[in-house]
Subunit: 426 residues, 2 copies
């Protein structure tokens, strides 16, 4: 008997009707003979409401108290989902993160799952009861409530599946969303965008890190590490269909070997911080990125280039929302090391092409730049990894760039996936 | 250094402004050198909102899930109060019932405090930090969240004070309300009603059981058992005043010896269940009250009277809201034992006079009935205890009866307390 962990986001549990629709996926999976564990986020905009509530008393609330406050959002959801399942005749029991055995470190609001004790879940599953687990939260060793940060419910779902895979030999994870899978590009931006039947963990990781909001990158990382198959599904889709949604897999199947580019991803609200004319002394990089890491601010890409003998330009991109904190750090480091200037630009986006096949194909970047040149999109910066190429462009150029690249790599047609290398040998 | 447990109800923590006003009582007590523990209820009407939310999915929610749901109300409050204290420069830390070490039995929605581990509170108090404890909730031995039922935050506050009295030698409890103490009668009903400086636990217990909503009877019982002094105070009153509010004390002071009646209490929404013409066989009483107790429905007064040879009438009063469940029990028992009729009346109130001095005074009931006769209030039933006399009247007569009794026992004038026995010897 296999174990399925079904995760429902905030919109899928926003009210009684949506709760019932989500609960029907649980019933369908049970009818197919699966043992089901449910993981839920806070209802609708509850987390935002709680954040606003805290801000009525202080602009910078203590992180521990915020976790105590925010964790109530998921605690409400699990009770509501358990009640909903019970009204549909399904034995169910709600569990907070702590009750589900999820232990984290003490980094409040950005905690990392350290361990998971499956005792409570096993007891319920073996008694035929559906455990409904609060996503996004856990408890640190001292007994304080912690949260995993935004998108943390995906991480909870994968962590639960990984641990139960250990116990039962296999477990899969289904992430229910208001989209029906992973697309070759955002369909609102690129009209010809197409759902992918499968992507690799690494492709998904790149896409998630680059701004695809389908699934949280930490969850994908964990799924990759523990080999948990994850399927992204639409919450209104019929339950139990194996051809629905998009499957995240570890290894590329034979047919996928030839795929070079699988998707185009746009990330908006990007800021760029640039320290110009820095003396290239030992420690200059860590003078910048040490404090940034300590403040737990995620940096996207880092570029370092020469700027004359012994002098460098150090540039990095990050979320525009984090610019306030980073500005002070960059200016302090710039002053300490004698930078000629510290520049901050905020009106930017990154546009990336991602594909497992790039590990072996050549000429992909060249083809990308030619397409952008023909479209007349100015490129501000370029960074690459093994399976992606990213460019920084002005915010206003991002959508046009995405459409042009989606066309250039023929992502709108299924056949193009296998055929594309032929056009990439330039 | 003495310990003060300050309890703030829902209206005292309803928004940022009210939270600050409540927090100032904490600061004032700290400034006087006290160690302060705060206990809070859910903000404003949050508990009602959560009950309504559960009812969107089911009319009869599972009790365990309701506790999981309702406990979030106080968890939000403790975080908000801790944040408020922090913004006012006071080190504070929120604790759920579980984190505060409050262990209960497993009777969901009506749990009883079984034990309290003071370790967490001691650690915080000795580190100069104000613990902010979620009222109304605890955890049972299996790790499930429990709640103590309506008014349970008062119980939490007294339980915390009782446990800390054990640890530190003394502790007092301050219950902040939107009234400034215990009155001789409800001032909205009786214009001449007057605040009492002190009442005994027993007087308060009778008054609370009879419908006075100043403080929860379970809390008073616990205060009596552990000898915890409790002061009822207005949340807008200046903190630290020892002459404010009403003090609940264990023993009557000399000046109080002569007090006969201290207050008049009205309880509305009373229902009366009457089994007429029951054969007086062994077990007939427990056939009725056994199932009522098992359903944990609180019964107010029980009256049994003869109805001819070997036949009795068995009558009891209870909250109108519980009539639905009790009706079925009464009818089943009535059928089983061959009662002639089972009558249920719902439009009733009880009006009671309460006073420690009744233990020794005589003629108090007679004076009460004379006053009601002169006022023309028909009495439906009478019950008495050592320190009170209660009558059941039609709902529409209740307020008039209360005013008349308040006048008859001269409760509006302070001198009357000492002088009243003079008029009671009839």
């Amino acid at each position: 008997m296999s174990v399925v962990v079904q995760k429902f986001g905030g919109t899928s549990v926003a009210d009684a009707e949506k709760l019932r629709a989500s609960a029907r996926h649980v019933l369908a999976a049970r009818a197919l003979g699966h043992r089901v564990v449910v993981v839920v986020s806070a209802m609708g905009h509850e987390t935002d409401r709680l954040v606003d509530l805290a801000h009525t008393v202080t602009p910078s609330p203590d992180r521990r108290e915020m976790d105590q406050l925010l964790a109530t959002g998921e605690q409400v959801s699990v009770a509501m989902m358990a009640l909903t399942l019970q009204t549909l005749g399904c034995a169910a029991r709600s569990l907070t993160g702590q009750q589900a055995g999820i232990v984290t470190d003490a980094a409040h609001q950005r905690a990392t799952v350290v361990s998971m004790d499956p005792t409570a879940l096993r007891g319920l599953l073996e008694g035929g009861v559906v455990p409904v687990v609060a996503g996004f939260q856990g408890v640190e060793r001292g007994g304080d409530v912690t949260t995993l940060g935004r998108g943390g419910s995906d991480t909870t779902a994968v962590a639960v599946a990984a641990r139960l895979k250990d116990v039962y030999g296999s477990a899969t994870c289904e992430i229910y969303k208001d989209v029906d899978g992973v697309y070759t590009a955002d369909p609102r931006v690129v009209p010809g965008a197409r759902r992918l039947e499968a992507v690799t963990y690494d492709e998904m990781l790149e896409a998630a890190a680059l701004g695809s909001q389908v699934i949280h990158p930490r969850a994908v990382e964990m799924a990759k590490r523990f080999g948990v198959p994850v399927r992204v599904l639409h919450s209104q889709e019929a339950a139990g269909r194996v051809d629905a949604g998009t499957l995240l897999v570890g290894e590329t199947e034979p047919a996928m070997e030839t795929r070079v580019v699988s998707s185009v991803v746009v990330k908006r609200n990007v800021a760029r911080v640039s320290l110009r004319g820095l003396p290239n002394r030992a420690g200059v990089q860590s003078a910048v990125f040490g404090p940034v890491a300590q403040a737990r601010l995620p940096v996207d890409d880092i570029i370092q280039e020469d700027d004359g003998p012994g002098t460098i330009n150090l540039t990095f991109t990050l979320d525009r929302g984090d610019v306030g904190e980073v500005r002070a750090i960059a200016q302090r480091a710039g002053a300490e090391y004698g930078a000629q200037a510290v520049r901050i630009d905020t009106g930017l986006s990154t546009v990336s092409i991602v594909g497992e096949g790039m590990r072996h194909a050549t000429g992909v970047a060249a083809r990308m730049f030619r397409a952008l040149a023909e479209e007349g999109v100015p490129i501000e910066n370029i960074t690459t990894s093994e399976i992606r190429v990213s460019i920084v462009v002005a915010e206003g150029d991002a959508e046009r760039a995405a459409r042009c690249l989606h066309g250039a790599f023929e992502l709108g047609t299924i056949g193009a996936l296998a055929n594309s290398p032929q056009g990439l040998s330039d």
